[in-house]
Amino acid sequence: MKTIKKHGELLTLFLFSFAFFFIFKYGPLYGVIIAFKDFRVVDGIWGSPWVGFQHFQELFQNNEFYRLLKNTLLLNLYQLIFAFPAPIILALLLNEVRSRHFQRFIQTTMYLPHFVSWVIMSGLIIYFLSPTSGIVGEIMGWFGLEPVFFMGKKEYFRSIVVVSAILKDLGWGSIIYFAALSGINPELQESAIIDGANRWQRIIRINIPSIMPTVAIMFILSLGGFLSANFEQIINLLNPVTYETGDVIDTYVYRVGLQQFQYSYTAAIGLFKSVVGLLLILGANLTVRKLSRGESGLW
């Protein structure tokens, strides 16, 4: 009782976050059991009959599934290679800009696209990439190149997704690295300058190592969504010609699941994704801890 009184404030604060996670995160987990049932609205979650792993078997036996899995994995791999480092590089570069005003201006303008919805963004992208009226085709024309119909070629789809994702969320994603950079002790920089280190050396020796723990955490977190893709982005960019390279698990779930009441099947796909995501997070965390000798990582 005494300890409860002593830590009353902390406990109160904890209570709120506990309630949040319990009500919104752990409570709904109960519904996951419909992945092992044949869910019918009228029977409810508990009343629907158990079917074991039937939905998972159906999923793994579906030929489409492997194409979807491949597309999803490739897309995420590209995202990880190109889109993940982009905000880090931006933050490092902007950090070196001397004029504070200029720095703030760039930062603010680069946040803007994050607040534009993907529906509008995709419309703009399709318009920009139009071979006859788009600005990209126009610019290619200046250099004597034939305009390419980017949206109508399946081999460009993944690049368009990755590049547009970078364009949209580059500024927003860099916020956290900015915060990490501003937390670096200025004495480190000063002593490095006295020791005669140039800009480049300071970035390599001071800035990057200092934000490495943040980078590691962001990396682990991003792996959790490795089997997900940005549904809103892809569904708006996808067209029949690009299905082959652009159709991902999420768009498939939308097409066959939500539009046709196949709740159990869809839940099974979701559960599969979550399990893979969890394994990836655990694996990445372990690796990061090993590499940093226990100094960084989520736990």
Partner: protein, 520 residues
């Protein structure tokens, strides 16, 4: 210290109050429903029946206690709770007492979830005699929503369809390239679109025009409906050939149509952006001097006051438009045709234990079918305030909305449309309230009733498993064949793949259904 404890206990108090409020809400809702459903009140007319009503599915959202809702409540002695029906709301078990669905596939999906009540056809006949005499002539519609020998929805029909497609041409372009007669045959059509692409119809000296574009991203088919129609097929539609049901995606005529489109594409007649274009974007292209002809709904393009024509005038005053029939090819003329089906009214499964409520629902349904006052109130609003006949002083014919209520969203705020059931109205009402000019235009330009889906868009047992994937497969191949990315001979590969990926199974089911339910 004292203060601190006070603060903490205050927070606890707040949390516990919030919690009890939350639980209170839940238990309140639980106890409310049985009380109203059993209708314990002895007074015969005093206690209104409570009806949960799924608002018109095209309406964006619920408007509570609107003018029209109050009017209905007053007239029928009911209490209406308007709700927006979504798949998610159904999944959580909240099934309205009455709502509308767009096509038989939806009805089948909802029925499969066990949320619908089966309807006794004799009851329809008895409770809604006016509606029944009309729908009897289209009795095949009942077959589309009959599952396990029971009827699951009240079908509605429409025969003069304002949304049938015809061709909307740039008349000024036709004149410019020296074509005096609006194209009627596929050959004339071809000449015109080639001229549009090659003879600089907008006169700017730059080759920046195309004949036409398409909508490869449509959710149900392939676009270019009138061109496929000229060859006598429509992709994805089930079509009858010598008593057998075959799918329009894989027929030999489909290949011929593709060969034609492919040629046009290669010659620069089809806009390469047909892959990403939508109906919205191709209208814009027509306004902006990029293409010279589009497929347009008759109600939107045939009359001087039609929306596309008006918008064109506003954006491009020099342009002239002319509306015409679909081009006639080796297979006749035709376009996508939804047939005589309209939407479907369904009743929630819980109503079957509440005869009093069912009685009430049928009373309202009958009024929405044949009582002019009720129909007008739910679909148009108050005469003189919200709408009037287009011709001043007239007592029948086309209607128009009065300024301030011209936009659908403005009317939704008052509840107009939310409780309207559309085409449940009798033929007599439709004759009185329709626009004769539009009816004439439909009769003159629509290719209907030439064909429609041989199963009237009924849902096959394995549709859920295969249909969407087969449609995407078709769209993918067709887009690539038209754009020349793969050779025309790959059509045969497509047919084999289509059959193997569930098409054969669906074809068998389609034939079974046709033999059992639709063959005359």
């Amino acid at each position: 210290m004292n203060k601190r404890i006070k603060f903490v206990s205050a927070v606890f108090l707040a949390v516990s109050i919030a919690a009890s409020l939350l639980t209170g809400c839940n238990s309140g809702a639980d106890t409310a429903s049985p009380g109203t459903s059993t209708g314990e009140s002895p007074a015969a007319k005093s206690k209104p029946v409570e009806i949960t009503w799924g608002i018109h599915f095209q309406a964006a959202g619920v408007v509570n206690d609107s003018e029209i809702q109050k009017w209905l409540e007053q007239k029928f002695n009911v209490k209406i709770k308007p709700v927006k029906v979504t798949d998610a709301s159904i999944a959580s078990g909240e099934v309205p007492d009455i709502f509308m669905l767009g096509d038989p596939a939806n009805v089948a999906a909802y029925q499969n979830q066990g949320v619908l009540m089966s309807i006794d056809p004799n009851m329809l006949k008895e409770k809604m005699p006016e509606y029944y005499t009309d729908i009897e002539k289209k009795s095949e519609l009942f077959q589309t929503v009959t599952i396990d020998n029971k009827l699951w929805a009240i079908p509605m029909f429409i025969d003069l369809k304002p949304y049938d497609l015809g061709m909307l041409w740039r008349k000024d372009w036709l004149d410019k390239v020296g074509i005096g007669k609006v194209p009627e045959t596929l050959d004339e059509f071809e000449k015109a679109v080639y001229a549009f692409a090659q003879k600089d119809p907008d006169g700017n000296g730059v080759k920046d025009t195309y004949g036409l574009t398409g909508t490869a991203t449509s959710t149900w088919s392939s676009g270019f409906y009138s061109i496929f129609g000229a060859f006598g097929v429509e992709p994805t539609m089930w079509m009858e050939r010598n008593g057998q049901i075959v799918n329009g995606s894989i027929m030999p005529e489909t290949k011929e149509a593709l060969a034609k489109l492919r040629q046009w594409y290669a010659d620069g007649v089809i806009d390469p952006e047909f892959i990403t274009d939508t109906q919205d974007s191709y209208r814009k292209k027509l306004y902006n001097n990029r293409i010279g002809v589009i497929e347009e709904q008759i109600s939107k393009g045939a009359l001087p006051e039609s929306s596309t024509v008006k918008e064109m005038q506003a954006l491009n005053p020099d342009a002239k438009l002319v509306f015409a029939k679909n081009p006639k090819g080796p297979g006749g003329d035709g376009s996508w045709d939804w047939g005589v089906k309209s939407n479907f009214i369904v009743i929630g499964s819980k109503v079957q234990d509440q005869p009093e409520k069912l009685e009430k629902l049928f009373e309202i349904l009958r009024a929405e079918s044949s009582d002019e006052e009720t129909i007008n109130m739910t679909s148009l609003g108050v005469k003189g305030t919200h709408w009037d006949f287009a011709e001043s002083g007239a007592a029948s014919g086309a209607t128009k909305f009065i300024p301030g209520f011209e936009k659908q969203e403005q009317r939704d705020q008052l509840g107009i449309r939310l409780f309207s059931l559309g085409n449940i109205t009798t033929q007599a009402y439709r004759d009185k309230y329709s626009n004769p000019a539009l009816n004439e235009a439909i009769k003159a330009t629509s290719s209907a009733p030439r064909w429609t889906d041989a199963l009237l868009f009924s849902s096959l047992p394995s549709d859920g498993k295969y249909k969407k994937d087969l449609t995407s497969l078709m769209q993918k191949y067709f887009a690539q064949i038209i754009s020349g990315e793969i050779p025309l001979s790959d059509f045969d590969t497509f047919v084999a793949e289509w059959k193997a990926k569930g098409g054969d199974e669906l074809t068998k089911e389609a034939n079974d259904m046709y033999q059992n339910q639709f063959k005359k």
